[in-house]
Each structure stands twice: as C-alpha cells, then as structure tokens.
Symmetry: C2
C-alpha cells in the first residue's frame, strides 16, 4: 500500500551464490526471495515457484514492493504442469516461446512479465553500484601480451553475443582456447585446465552485446580465482563497470596469493 511505512521496498530475486547477500547489505529492509531449489548463500530467503509467479508478484506488491532486482545465477527450473495457478498458466506459451529463442529472449520476457505486473525492474548498476568495479587493476600485474589476449577475447565474446552464446572466453598468446557455452564459466575453465599443456592467457568476462544489463551480469568471485589458477592463466579481465566482483576483499587477496591479475578493463 503506497503511503504506508512499508512502501517503496525493494525485493531481491536471489539466485544461487553469495550475490544476493551482498546486494541486501546495501539496502534498507529488502525482501529476499528465491526460486525453490536455488537458495542463496549467506542470507535467508523466502521461496517461490515459477508456476505461481503472478500470485507471488501480487504478494510482493501487497507488501509495499515497488522495485525488484535480480541477484545471482538461476538455471532454467523444471516446471510442474500441475503446480500452475490460472493466471501464471496463461503466461506459459509466452515463456515457452521466449525460451526457444534462447537465454536472452527468456530473460527479457521474464523482465517484461514483472513490469506488466506493475513492478519496476532495476539493475545492479542502479541498486548496488559498489559491487561493479570501475576501471582499474585490482590485483597483480598486466603485461602487453595479457592486454592483447584480453582484447582478442573481448572480440570473441562480442561476436558470440550476436548468437546469444556465452559471456566469456579464454585466450592465450592470441589463440582461443575456450569459449563459454551453456555449461558456464566453471565448466569452460575446467575444460581449459584439462586440454592445455602450456600456461598463460586471460579469462575474459563481459555481458553479451545487446543483453539487458538488469539481469545476468557476469560475476567473478573466490571460486573463479581457484578455477583460473587451475587453468594456468595469468589473470582475469572484464568489461569495466559491467561485471560483479563478489566478496571483493577475499577475491582480491586470493588473486594476489595465486599470482593472478584482476583487471576491470576499459573498452578498447
């Protein structure tokens, strides 16, 4: 109810991982909710099912929520046809059609459904800008060869984005060792670790060109450091202002300890 003390609250739609807790820490009394089966780390969350999305959104608005922000990774949930309420069921053809068009289309449609229900969907750049490092080298040292690899990888990701494929690539000495696809960054880095004999190179992360930046921003955290070290890369670079650095102090310390650079890289 607008005008009550609870009005203008923010709801965090939490995915798995620690991002939701970090976003919540910067907000005043947010509601934290997560899809059943995708509980976030480090913070309690109420759960909802996609099959009952409309009643869930109505419930948020009844509690004074005017704005939602997506925080964290969600995989496509399995849907139980018997669990739908009638209003959400009506959205199924729309969601199914969007899913067939790929991840970007599915996420854009999800945002549209929230907005149609009367909620503003904000991005992390607006709600939690402190989590998105501006340009700068945050750990280690970057060489000219690393810069060239990052530039090449950025070109690969930009080109792939037109195909709605991944947000990442691994380039070493100008050669593309791996490209991120559906299985994600960790799987790509494990592939790199297993399939290469040398060392060096860069993990590059960036949103897909044309992606809605209010959802599914790339994220780098302590786990990424371990995976990049195992893949024998020199460091991690990302498009400045367009990726989340999780657990910043710990991630930076882990990068220094592993001899890896962390580079929030300005556009070429």
């Amino acid at each position: 109810m607008p005008g009550t003390p609870e009005a203008n609250r923010t709801a965090i739609i939490a995915g798995s991982g620690g991002l939701a807790a970090e976003v919540a820490a910067g907000l005043d009394a947010p509601i934290v909710a997560a899809l059943e089966g995708f509980a976030p780390d480090g913070i309690a969350a109420e759960t909802f099912r996609l099959e009952r999305l409309i009643p869930f959104l109505d419930g948020l608005m009844d509690r004074g929520v005017t704005r939602v922000v997506f925080a964290g990774a969600v995989r496509r949930p399995a849907l139980d046809p018997e669990a739908f309420d009638p209003l959400t069921a009506r959205l199924v053809p729309r969601i199914a059609m969007a899913m067939r068009q790929g991840d970007d289309a599915a996420l854009r449609e999800l945002i549209a459904i929230f907005e149609d229900a009367g909620l503003a969907v904000a991005g992390l750049r607006e709600v939690a800008p402190q989590l998105l490092p501006a340009s700068g080298i945050l750990a280690g040292r970057v060489t000219a060869a690393d810069d060239a690899d990052a530039s090449r990888a950025a070109e690969v990701v930009a080109t792939l984005g037109a195909l709605d494929i991944g947000q990442g690539a691994v380039v070493a000495g100008g050669l593309t060792l791996a490209v991120e696809t559906l299985p994600g960054t960790a799987a790509m880095l494990e592939f790199t670790a297993q399939s290469r004999s040398g060392r060096g190179g860069v993990l590059w992360k960036a949103p897909k060109p044309g992606q809605d930046l209010r959802i599914d921003l790339p994220a780098i955290g302590p786990d990424t450091i371990d995976q990049v070290a195992a893949a024998k890369l020199n460091g991690i670079a990302w498009r400045a202002g367009h990726a989340v650095l999780l657990d910043r102090e710990r991630t930076m310390a882990a990068a220094e300890a592993a001899g890896l650079f962390l580079w929030s890289r300005p556009d070429d």
Copy 2:
C-alpha cells in the same frame, strides 16, 4: 625431370590419422611424406622436418613431383632453431608472423611457400573427391528438430569462422552446448559428454568461411562416432562436399549400430 616416367607425380603431405592412406589408394604411385612425429596410420611415409622445408621441397621436385596434397591433421610442430638450413631459416619471420595471425593465416602461408617453390597445391576435392560425400543421409534418420539444430550450429560455426576459431559446434534443442576451439573436436565432445545431463542434439562440422579448402578440411571417422555416442547426441551433420568421411563403410556401420545419423547436409 619433366618428360621422364616419374614426372607429374603427386606427393601426399600426410598428417596423423588414416586419411593419407585413403588418398594414396586413389592415386598412381604417390610419394607419401609426413612431418617427423606425425606418422600417418596404415601407410609408410618418409619424414621431413619443417626446419628443412626448402631442401625437402627441392627433393620432391627432383623426383618428378609437380603437385602436393595435404591429408590429415598436423599440430604446430616444435621448432629446433639449430636444425634450420639457410634457405628455410629465411622463411622463419614469414612463418612466425603468419602463425601469430592464427591458424588460417599460418596454413595459407604454408601453401604459399609450397607454391613459391614451384609446386602446385591441390585440394582433396580435386585429388580424392570420392572421400567427400555429396548431399545425402548416409546413416540413421534425421528429424525436423535435428535439422533445426544443424542449421543453428551452421550459423554458429559460420560466425565463429570470422574469428578463425573452430570448425565445429554442438547444438541441442536450439541451445549451443559447445563450440570447437584449439583443442579440437574430440575435446569438445568429451566436454559435452561431461557437462550435459540430457540427450539429443547434433555435432556440426564445416570449414571456416574463407578458409582455403586445400588444407584442413573437417573429417569424420569411426572415432567421431564413438565420441558422439558418448556425448548422447542424435547424429553428425556436415556441410555437403566440404568434409572428409574417413573409413566410409566402417563409419557408416558404426553410426547405424550406435543409432546415430550421418548427414551430408546441403546449405540452408
């Protein structure tokens, strides 16, 4: 020496695998040569080192060779700086610069060096057309969903080609599960096997757009069948007339036995 019985011979530059033997079977008394360390299967080959390429090419011409054909996969060999002869050493800056520009540039430069030495470089389409199946379904059955996956994968490979990345992709239900990079097809399929939970989908193979078709055509053989079966795909499709089907009878029988389709697919 032109005019002698030995004139107009063809030399097969063999990579590893069985392709060179299949090419040789269709030719009259070819010379078969392989880089040291990359011996082909099923046929004897003389060896040469890249550091002594010019004397090797001169030797071929002395024996009446006028035409060479590349047959099989060659990885970048390690070069021993002490092993160079003076003429080949002069080519090193040219080769090194091409290598830095990626695989396609390196292979184009290699072809140019053969041609500069006075040898014609022919493609498999000219020398061994019987190894490149024309359009048709060679094993199993293809559904509309498989066709859509193949079409999508063809689009992925065509787009990646502009970046000189791989010749293959795996698409299932419209989703890109894997993209071929430096480690090659077998590594991509192993990644797919390890990272997926479902089944279905297509392995697509095609040359990179703009690639010189006289070298490094995609090849499908019995090993590919095993790898595709382990990745739980429905089958293999490739750009008709632009990929080699190795060990045809055995590969087709293996595909049928594994319930996989083999599809030499015309362009969209």
